[in-house]
């Protein structure tokens, strides 16, 4: 809400500085977002008088002027030719600043010193409406006599200060000058001065001119209409134009300007109809017929539906109620008789209509936030008083007022004790009463019980908490002390197990050199094609946004695979040579299609590595680290069928019947789709499943008393024999004596025949109750070798 200080001064005597006023407003809940000094647009431009004129020696079109600017006479070179000695003109001095954004500095023009610039109306952003002659080509010649050296802002009344005030949604009453003025009056303990609200009327009666029929009283609890005849359309007074401009509205003509003025001043949107263009001289407030059409003032045609409220004449809609008027009944040069509307429309309805039609206006803005039931009358009286003051027409006697809502004020009953218990401090009773009264909340106290009657413009006040807020914002929040829930009960606090799981994963991954990333939860539906996911895959069932920021951010991701690949890609294109990344985030899996209920949100960790030192096994090692941390010893890796992974270098991670996730090299087609040549290795673990199968409880196991015997063997097997099979075979043959088995090297080439590999296996034997003999170990190894030979055609190397 932009408020002009000059305007505000009509309502309150402000005897503090602007800074002080702003600080006080902030302290009571009105953030001052910006202080705009209109004079700042135009600096060091003063009134000057031309004392002498001579031709420039080296330029035909230039003149050298001597100008008296009050305390000195300066020389300026100008190209203008509409000036003569004795003229008063606006002079931009050295280091001056014009409203056009231009800075003026002294310099030389064709070798002659020039200490500034003479200004045209255009350069001062003035029009004929602002000052007669300002629209003419050439230097602006001032007609009146002004002291030399006077700031030009003074001449044009360009001295207002505008505060841009943030008004919270609970205070729609403050989207007006009078609303802010009430707050300021309370803050400064000054009386509120009301502007002129009275006017002369002529002898004719309004019933001769217009009738009002409110059919939809549920959407329009109050509709007031007045008539002004013999309208003289013209410019509005300068102070009105200046104030409207100061708050960002363009002056149009006296009628429109007055309705806009009342909108800003009283917060009441007004509308004016050309009475002669209303069929049947009737105003009907009704719901639109389905499919009914209207062309609004912005020259756009809209199709209406029956949820929308219109102001119609006897035939067709003339205005989308509270949003925008129709072109057909607008004010024009020919208008003779005007019907003024001052109404209250329900905010929900206006909001919906405005959104459906995609049509916003200063009116709809205010109606959406809510306008109280008393303001229509203030608005109408004020508008008519201004019509009278400006002499724009004759006001017809009588105002139609169709009121279907109650004008009864709301009462809140509470106690001092209750207020204090909300705030945690003791506010003196007299302070409470004084503050409420100063806010026009009529307060009566009896036996500690407060009966507070809120004025109609404070629709937000409903309970004791609302009163407590009013009291503390004016009493001052610096009265609030610091206590640490002294009366509350002790609580344990902490992280639940699933949150701790995430912490465990993060610790492991950071120790593995991985950097955590953060990407958007929404993604493009195209990623499924990039990942070559099958058309009938469940992953293509997504939660879709109705109003995404763009197609690329329109569906909630069902896999994190693309996100981690894209993170790596974005680094690769920046010439990063290697990297390790992870992200912990949800995937969103619809329970039904089309989506009608909340989807499953499953937390996953996705990991990705690339670079010279990375391969499938470096990625898998990180996965194994996580599984180690979660006490999972029986994970199985089976070739995956996931579309985005290399079928020979990708595995599903299984624990029992649960699929925990996957690890693998990204499929070359997908890499190609991503437009990168580097190999990417990724892995994903479902954290919820991990939490369900984990074994993080530490249980002590006694340290072996007897030494173990360690032996290494190397066997030759076919390429197709998997490590898993070898270990399984060794374990079966090894029995209880064998405590651990590990493949620590695989060798190909050299003396190893093609299609074969040499596998080095380390074995550890131990008994709990005695030391093993050499003989026992040898027997066991022979048994293992025999089994490897029988089952896997392995030969000792």
């Amino acid at each position: 809400m932009k408020v002009s200080l000059n305007w505000l001064r009509d309502f309150v005597d402000i005897d503090v500085t602007e800074d002080e006023l702003c600080a006080r407003l902030v302290s009571c809940g009105f953030e001052v977002e910006e202080v705009i000094r209109l004079a700042d647009n135009c600096k060091r431009v003063v009134v000057g008088r031309i004392e002498g004129l001579e031709k420039h020696p080296d330029a035909d079109k230039l003149q050298i002027c001597r100008i008296n600017v009050g305390d000195e006479v300066i020389q300026i070179v100008t190209g203008a030719n509409n000036i003569k000695v004795g003229d008063l003109i606006p002079v931009a001095l050295d280091n001056s600043y014009l409203p056009t954004g231009t800075k003026i500095k002294k310099g030389k023009l064709r070798g002659v010193e020039s200490n500034g610039m003479l200004c045209s109306g255009e350069e001062l952003k003035l029009t004929e409406a602002d000052y007669q002659g300002a629209g003419e080509y050439g230097i602006l010649i001032l007609r009146e006599d002004y002291p030399l050296g006077m700031d030009i802002n003074e001449v044009f009344g360009n001295n207002d200060v505008v505060l841009d005030i943030g008004v919270t949604a609970n205070r729609p009453d403050c989207n007006s000058v009078i609303g802010i003025a009430r707050e300021v009056a309370t803050l400064l303990k000054k009386p509120l001065k009301m502007p002129k609200m009275t006017y002369k009327v002529n002898s004719s009666d309004i019933s001769e001119y217009v009738t009002v029929d409110v059919k939809a009283t549920d959407l329009c609890p109050r509709y007031m209409a007045s008539v002004v005849k013999n309208i003289k359309i013209g410019d509005s007074p300068k102070y009105i134009q200046n104030r409207l401009k100061a708050v960002g509205l363009r002056p149009i003509n006296n009628i429109v300007d007055i309705t806009n003025y009342v909108l800003i001043e009283m917060g009441q949107p007004m509308h004016s109809f050309d009475r002669d263009r209303l069929c049947g001289s009737k105003i009907v407030v009704r719901r639109a017929d389905e499919g009914e059409k209207i062309v609004t003032l912005d020259n756009k045609e809209h199709t209406l539906d029956s949820s929308m409220l219109v102001i119609a004449d006897s035939e067709k809609p003339q205005c989308v109620a509270g949003v925008m008027g129709g072109l057909g009944s607008g004010i024009s040069e020919e208008t003779n008789t005007v019907v003024f509307e001052s109404a209250k429309f329900m905010r929900d309805n206006i909001r919906r209509t405005s959104r459906k039609l995609n049509l916003r206006s200063d009116s709809s803005f205010r109606f959406e936030r809510g306008i109280d039931i008393a303001t229509q009358e203030y608005g109408m009286r004020r508008a008519l008083a201004l019509i009278d003051e400006c002499g724009c027409g004759e006001i017809v006697c009588g105002t139609i007022d169709v009121l279907s809502a109650s004008l009864e004020k709301k009462t809140v009953t509470t106690t001092f004790e209750k207020i204090d218990s909300i705030l945690g401090i003791k506010v003196p009773e007299t302070v409470v009463v004084d503050i409420l009264n100063s806010l026009s909340i009529e307060t009566e106290v009896k036996d500690g019980v407060i009966t507070a009657v809120a004025p109609l413009f404070r629709e937000d006040i409903e309970n004791a908490n609302d009163l407590a807020e009013e009291i503390i914002r004016l009493y001052g929040y610096d009265h609030i002390n610091c206590t640490l829930i002294d009366k509350g009960k002790q609580t344990l606090g902490g992280k639940p197990e699933d949150v701790k799981d995430v912490d465990r994963i993060r610790n492991i991954l950071v120790a593995n050199g991985m950097s955590e990333t953060l990407t958007y939860s929404f993604t493009s539906p195209k990623i499924f094609d990039i990942l070559t996911i099958k058309e009938d895959s469940g992953l293509r069932n997504t939660v879709k946004l109705l109003n995404p920021l763009g197609e690329d951010l329109s569906v909630m991701r069902t896999t994190l695979a693309y996100s981690i690949m894209n993170t790596m890609r974005s680094n690769i294109v920046k010439s990063v040579k290697c990297g390790r990344f992870f992200e912990i985030a949800n995937v969103y899996l619809p329970k039904d299609m089309p989506v009608s209920e909340q989807p499953d949100e499953i937390r996953h960790v996705v990991m990705g590595v690339f670079g010279r030192d990375e391969d499938f096994y470096s990625m898998k090692g990180i996965v194994e680290n996580i599984l180690d941390k979660f006490g999972i010893v029986d994970a199985e890796y089976e070739y995956t069928s996931l579309e985005w992974l290399h079928s020979g270098r990708g595995a599903d991670i299984k624990v029992g019947n649960d699929i925990l996730g996957y690890v693998g090299e990204v499929h070359p087609t997908v890499l190609n789709n991503l437009g990168i040549k580097e190999k990417l290795y990724i892995a994903d673990i479902n954290i919820e499943t991990l939490g369900a199968v984990k074994n993080t409880q530490y249980v002590f196991e006694s340290i072996p008393k007897y030494p173990s015997v360690e032996r290494d063997i190397a066997v030759l097997v076919k390429e197709s024999v998997s490590a898993k099979n070898i270990i399984k075979t060794v374990k079966t043959a090894g029995g209880n004596l064998l405590k651990s088995v590990d493949i620590f090297d695989v060798y190909r080439g050299g003396q190893v025949a093609k299609g074969m590999k040499s596998v080095a296996i380390s074995l550890e034997f131990r008994l709990p109750d005695r030391t093993l003999t050499e003989e026992e170990v040898n027997q066991k190894i022979n048994k293992i070798l025999k089994r490897l030979e029988v089952d896997l055609e392995a030969t000792l190397r």
Binding site: A169, G370, L423, G493, L509, V543, K544, N547
Partner: protein, 340 residues
């Protein structure tokens, strides 16, 4: 005989003096104390000593052996020390060369902030709780005293999925879910992702918040201020940090406040970060609106509470001096690695 012993000692001394290493020393040992060494030969001469002198000479010989032995030990110590020193000198390496290590990874700056905040609040007795990101209109708005078509919805533009489903615009729905499932005393913090259709240098369509909620008997505005001031002191590691409450509006709290904290950069003197005010705006908070308690099945006559919320990205930017919010989502490894 006595002379001989004396000479023996001094010879041993001299021999030791010229022993340069352990093998020299060994030769000396053998030469003087060995089976056919000089001392043994003196002992052999004992049979020729008159009986009355034998005790004296015997004593002298023993003394001589002890002396020589201690000289040898002394020399041995010196030589070992010398040889060790030489060995170490030979093994000398460049200690300024880098160590063998696995490079550390890094947590996202937002995670660092969240973890720090969760630590503070869990230590103050708060439990961490998560809630769904795809929410219903009821939990995200209606239960929080934001009815359909209420102007307060204007404060939060929303991504919709259906008329009734949306991406939560704040973490506040977890308040309601918590109050429905847990009876007071309640102290929870809810971190999480939230969504609003804004995208510029200071807004991201996805960002993270932490919401806090306390519900118990006798909770007041002073408790709110006390807890949040304690939080500010710990978060910015400034025991003198203060908070300032400014009136504001949130539909789900009444009274509502913005909470400013002493600027962490200038400690209140005024600087670029706080735009000269000495304060930075960190939290929104307030006394839980009794209507919200009621909507969540908590008796507002018996219980009261306070709630607060803060944006993680903003804190991360303040704490680490990150100039542009978008950097948090670009995942440039050169950025991420700064938070090892």
């Amino acid at each position: 005989m006595q002379e001989k012993i004396k000479t023996l000692i001094s010879n041993a001394k001299n021999a030791l003096k010229s022993a340069a290493n352990m093998s020299d020393l060994n030769s000396v040992k053998v030469a003087f104390l060995g089976k056919s060494g000089e001392l043994t030969s003196v002992l052999r001469g004992m049979k020729d000593v008159p009986n009355d002198k034998k005790p004296l000479i015997g004593k002298l010989v023993n003394e001589a052996r002890d002396a020589i032995q201690s000289f040898i030990q002394e020399k041995e110590r010196i030589l070992i020390a010398k040889e060790t020193a030489e060995k170490l000198e030979k093994e000398k390496i460049d200690v300024t060369f880098k160590g063998t290590k696995k490079e550390l990874g890094s947590l996202h700056p937002c995670t660092l902030v969240i973890e720090e905040i969760l630590d503070i609040f869990t230590n103050l007795g708060f439990t961490v709780k998560h809630g769904p990101e795809v929410e219903t209109d009821f939990y995200n708005f209606q239960a929080l005293n934001i009815p359909k078509d209420h102007p307060a919805r204007e404060m939060q533009d929303t991504f919709y999925i259906t008329e009734d489903l949306l991406l939560r615009t704040h973490t506040s729905p977890v308040q309601v879910r918590t109050m429905q499932s847990v009876k007071p005393p309640i102290r929870v913090v809810n971190p999480g992702k939230v969504y609003r259709p804004d995208d510029d240098a200071t807004h991201s369509p996805m960002f993270q918040q932490i919401e806090g909620l306390v519900v118990d008997e006798g909770i007041t505005m002073c408790d709110l201020k006390g807890i949040l001031e304690e939080f500010a002191k710990r978060l910015f590691n400034d025991p003198n940090a203060k908070t300032r409450l400014r009136p504001s509006f949130f539909p789900f709290t009444e009274p509502s406040v913005e909470v400013d904290v002493t600027c962490s950069m200038c400690h209140g003197k005024g600087c670029r970060l706080c735009k000269g005010t000495g304060w930075i705006e960190v939290l929104g908070a307030g006394i839980v609106n009794p209507k919200v308690l009621e909507n969540s099945g908590i008796d507002p006559e018996k219980y009261s509470g306070f709630a607060f919320g803060l944006g993680i990205e903003r804190i991360a930017m303040i704490k680490y001096g990150i100039p542009d919010m978008r950097m948090l989502f670009e995942n440039d490894i050169r950025f991420l690695k700064q938070f090892k």
